[in-house]
Amino acid sequence: MPRASVVLADADERDLTKLDEYRAVGGYGALRSALALEPEQIIAELTGANLRGRGGAGFPMGRKASLIAKDSPKPTYLVVNADESEPGAFKDREIMLRTPHRLIEGCLITAHAIGSTSVFVYIRGEYLTEFEVLRTALEEVRQADLLGGVTIVLHRGAGAYICGEETALLDSLEGKRGLPRPRPPFPPVTGLYASPTQINNVQTIATVPKILELGSKEFAKLGVKTSPGTAVFSLSGNVVNPGNYELELGTPLRELIYDIGGGIPNGRAIKAIIPGGSSVPVLTPDQLDTPLDYNSIQAAGSFFGSAAVMVIDDRCCMVQLALRAAQFYMHESCGKCTPCREGTRWLVQLLEKIEDGRATHSDLDLLLSVCDRILGKSLCALGDFAVYPVSSYMAKFRDEFEAHVEQGGCPFAGESSIEGIVAPVELHERKSLSGSVDG
């Protein structure tokens, strides 16, 4: 399948951070035509395009917009989730850095579609450059008088993974501790400041102008029927050419890793692939022909997630990798609900014991049992996210876990490296911007 360009269209050829350049390729034309349409017509276009949310859950954007409470006496808000924090994911960053105007145009079109005049873009705190690029672009838009009465607020997060969870994001935006809310009520009815709120990922919103430009029929020709369009895949790990690649959905995993990514360095063997960021279940080399779209990946036993494809070669110790993932989720658990708060800590303790070679076979069963006791019981998806890496590595690489028990230590000792896949523990702790971690 050919490389496609929707959200990153023309960004290789021009400096689209500049309003003039963006306008030269037709930028803000979609906004003009959208403003001539009734909101319902835009929602119909989005629904027709079957644009699925690129943040991870894959919920159709048009349907989300149609759920916005119409009879509320309160204002309606649009919130853009730019709190990209999933290990392995860096696509929104690319979009904000290179095509900020497409995101802003998408915001303005979507705001019109849902009858909102207030847009909040919640940007990951560590994305300082991206924030500045967006701020500059927004200033240009303001001066060019393109906002049409809509206020766009750029809000920087303070370094909490949980604030990428949409309801925690809303709490944080309201100035509270970022903790997920129980649902129902759902944000389209009771969201930001208890008002109807549409929340979308950066890429989803940045795709909107192209849908209007191409028309939903033409757009739907891209990708696969169940998931039309493109995705920016963040390819990372043990691969020759890591980076962001915008591809049509349905592109086989093998094509991304080998044809585009240049394969595994130094001729090593591929061991595993994480297709959607560190929180999704792992795939194995026999699944390399899986097409990269929501339904196909789910059929393969994982999730499309944030399109962050992490390639793991045969040097990696899966226990160490699981431990690293578990440490991340323990560190980022908000502490609101019991299973995630207590369970993630227990997972780390168990995985440390296994990696250290102090574990017994019953500890492996206990590990799975703890996973099972977190899964599906936490308040938000973070609990599940903490479980998937651990339980899927156990399911697919159990022999490696058992080898740790039997050999009384890590069989990869001295050789194994998770570097290049995820940041080592110490690095994460030191560079953490999450504020106080004492306790």
Binding site: P182, M330, G335, K336, C337, P339, R341, L366, G376
Partner: protein, 748 residues
């Protein structure tokens, strides 16, 4: 609101069909079906559910994932399976309990909560018998005093967030917060400052484990050794319902006892922590006779009664009685019978003016939450006079009510002492706010301050606004004393004789601690030939009383109080007092004067009730007293002008208020000292700017030769022209004061 149609829905819980009102929480709906859904974090009084603890996980038909019952409401046709019938839900519940326990210390044998701990109970009922946790548990420094009254054990904390939610959305003080995140989350006070607030102690009761404990109760008793006695708090006119836990004849703690119309289960810190005044070092346990100028020596009861009889006879009716307003109705009636019927001594100093003028506008306090417009007049902060009313006002505001206060620190600022004018204005045709009160379906007016003639002024306003014609509208007058109205009624019921002013005063009878501490009463004593005082504490009697009979506390008496709603409530003797109570010796004395008086409060109440309470029996009052129906008053409402007020004199007006954390009981409780009002003079920012003083500056507040040195505090909400000082720091000052710098420079 009362007319709102309640739609009912049918749902199935564990196969049982129930019909409940639509929107009822699933936890309550299950209870209707006789099924327990266990919870830790769920507490409807704290606002919307948070779904944090996950103990209530249930299977809902049509939803693949387990759901928290606490966050869902009953919908028609819903089919719910709890852990009792659903394997999946049971696994969810097991998981939650195991996770809660993995880091919870196994110190139940030494934990104050052990034996009455929801976590312990639910673990016994549903929990695993063994642990699979083999790693070291999380440890924290413990216990941490979050205030002198509350200790926090972070290891025991299961992070249900009840305490922080209370602080955030009930008392709205925002002082308790969660710090850090994930497994490192801890409960803390903001910036590690002591938890200072009027309601902080409620978090102890809300805590479902032993993480927040009372420093007074720590290691004092186990639940199976205590007896819980239901009674009423006697420290303010709200009359919150309480339970006193006693062990071996001593009160060990006071808990709230939910009366949904009065307190909704909240209790202020004074009501909760002040009980240790029972064991104050200067508590009087024997009758005392004055020796020399400042000496008191214990005498026998026979001797004391003999002496009292002698003093009463010697005064030949030239007796004045000063009452506190904290006596029970029975006590006051007994004293009145003795003095008025036995000795013809009709002269009394009542604690405050009270009457029945507002009975026509009677409402339960809980009606405040349903109100749409509430207007408060007067200069006293509601929270200092009747603390739980402040919580109702906050709840009303959260529910969307508009709360307007007109006073010296009101949302609409008025000059001090103009509440009567404000009432007249509101009643007049030109008032916009008055118009809205008339138009509102559910409007409530409140008088919080000095003056007000026992509610007649407010009754005048409420009548002019037509509030008696509307079902959920009414008026509240916040008295200064817990039972001033009951005491006044009882005194009046004993005789129809007119009161006379004896001159000179042969004997001053001082009943209770408030009267004994009152400078006005002390001034009367100067003019009296002898003084007979009843008080709990020696320091209140030293130097001026000739005979002192031991007083008792509200926790030691049987009897009745009448609260600010007009509700008669029953006090129970939670512990035996160290000496015979007031009614007992009053009855003995009455016998000597040929007056028939029973020493039993229930018989005294029966007699009095037949006279003035339409024969209502103690059985009808019960443990959770009902509110009498609104009644036509005998006192006429009154909006007439006050007698001409003093013309503006030089200097500033001194406004004093009685702080909640003040009084003889509070002064004797170490845990409450930090809550007592600071030695401060509050000034408006306007006056402070004009006078050139700023926060913290030391100034002397002077009047007529008396000077008090205080620290300045700028209160932006205060009306100009006023110096506000807690009454305990303003002793001897008159209503016009002059401010000076310590150097003597007069500020003007």
């Amino acid at each position: 609101m009362a007319d709102r149609q309640i739609q009912s829905v049918a749902l199935t819980i564990d196969g049982r069909e129930v019909e409940v009102p639509k929107g009822l929480g699933l936890v309550e709906a299950a209870a209707v079906a006789g099924i327990e859904i266990p919870v830790f974090c769920y507490e409807p009084r704290l606002g919307p559910p948070v779904g944090a603890c996950r103990m209530c996980l249930c299977e809902i038909e049509g939803t693949p994932k387990l759901q928290t019952a606490c966050t869902l409401t009953a919908q028609d046709g819903m089919a719910i399976r709890t852990a009792q019938t659903s394997e999946k839900a049971a696994q969810g519940q097991d998981a939650t309990l195991e996770f809660i326990l993995v880091n919870h210390p196994l110190d139940c044998p030494v934990c104050d909560k052990g034996g009455e701990c929801p976590l312990q109970d639910l673990t016994f009922r549903y929990g695993p018998g063994a642990t699979r946790m083999t790693f070291p548990k999380r440890t924290f420094e413990k216990p941490i005093p979050i205030s002198p009254a509350i200790a926090l054990d972070r290891e025991r904390c299961i992070l249900c967030y009840r305490c922080t939610r209370f602080s955030e959305s009930v008392s709205e003080d925002g002082q308790l917060v969660a710090r850090n995140r994930g497994a490192r989350t801890v409960i803390a006070t903001f910036e590690d400052e002591p938890y200072r607030g009027r309601f902080s102690g409620n978090v102890i009761e809300l805590c479902p484990v032993g993480a927040l404990t009372s420093t007074q109760y720590r290691f004092e008793a186990r639940p199976w050794e205590i007896q819980n006695v239901p009674s009423i708090c006697g420290l303010c006119p709200v009359g919150c319902n309480i339970t006193a836990s006693t062990r071996e004849g001593k009160v060990k703690r006071v808990l709230s006892r939910n009366h949904p119309e009065i307190d909704e289960g909240w209790l202020c810190d004074k009501g909760r922590f002040a009980f240790t005044h029972l064991h104050a070092r200067d508590r009087i346990t024997d009758p005392l006779r004055r020796v020399r100028r400042r000496g008191l020596s214990a005498i026998s009861w026979d001797g004391a009664l003999e002496e009292a009889e002698g003093m009463l006879r010697k005064a030949r009716g030239r007796i004045v009685t000063a009452l506190s307003g904290s006596e029970t109705i029975e006590q006051a009636y007994g004293l009145a019978k003795l003095l008025r019927q036995g000795l013809g001594a009709h002269s009394a100093v009542l604690p405050e003016e009270t009457n029945d003028a507002l009975d026509r506008f009677r409402l339960p306090l809980s009606a405040l939450r349903e109100a749409e417009l509430i207007v408060i007049v007067g200069d006293d902060p509601v929270a200092e006079r009747a603390p739980v009313v402040d919580l109702w006002l906050r709840a009303a505001r959260r529910a969307g009510a508009e709360v307007v206060s007109l006073g010296v620190t009101g949302t609409v600022q008025r000059p001090a002492g103009t509440a009567a004018e404000t009432c007249r204005e509101l009643a007049g045709p030109g008032s916009e706010l008055g118009g809205r009160l008339r138009a509102a379906d559910r409007a409530i007016v409140i008088w919080s301050g000095p003056g007000g003639r026992g509610g007649t002024l407010l009754a005048g306003l409420a009548g002019a606004l037509g509030l008696d014609g509307k079902k959920s509208s009414g008026a509240f007058y916040l008295p200064a004393t817990p039972n001033g109205r009951g005491v006044g009624e009882a005194w009046a019921a004993a005789s129809d004789e007119e009161e006379a002013n004896p001159e000179p005063i042969g004997l001053l009878v001082v009943s209770g601690d408030e009267a004994a501490a009152d400078p006005g009463v002390r001034a009367l004593a100067e003019r009296a030939e002898s003084v007979l005082a009843t008080t709990m504490f020696q320091s209140l009697a030293v130097g001026w009383a000739d005979l002192v009979l031991p007083g008792t506390s509200y926790l030691e008496r049987d009897g009745t109080y009448r609260n600010l709603e007009g509700r008669l409530q029953r006090l129970r003797r939670t512990v035996i007092p160290p000496a015979p109570d007031e009614l007992a010796w009053t009855a003995k004395l009455a016998e000597r004067f040929g007056v028939a008086l029973s020493p039993h409060p229930s018989l005294v109440f029966e007699e009095l009730s037949a006279k003035i309470y339409r024969g209502v029996g103690l059985g009808e009052i019960g443990e959770r007293a009902p509110l009498p129906a609104a009644a036509a008053p005998a006192t006429a409402p009154d909006l007439s002008a006050d007698p001409a007020r003093a013309v503006a004199a030089p200097g500033m007006r001194l406004l004093t208020y009685r702080a909640l954390f003040s009084g003889a009981a509070v002064e004797r409780v170490p845990e409450l000292q930090f809550q007592r009002p600071a030695r401060e003079a509050e000034l408006s920012s306007e006056d402070a700017g004009r006078l050139g003083v700023t926060d913290g500056d030391v100034i002397d507040v002077r009047s007529n030769g008396t000077s008090v040195r205080l620290a300045t505090r700028i209160n932006r909400a205060l009306h100009a022209g006023v110096v506000r000082v807690a009454v305990e720091h303003a002793r001897g000052l008159e209503s016009r004061v002059q401010l000076e710098k310590p150097s003597g420079e007069v500020l003007r």
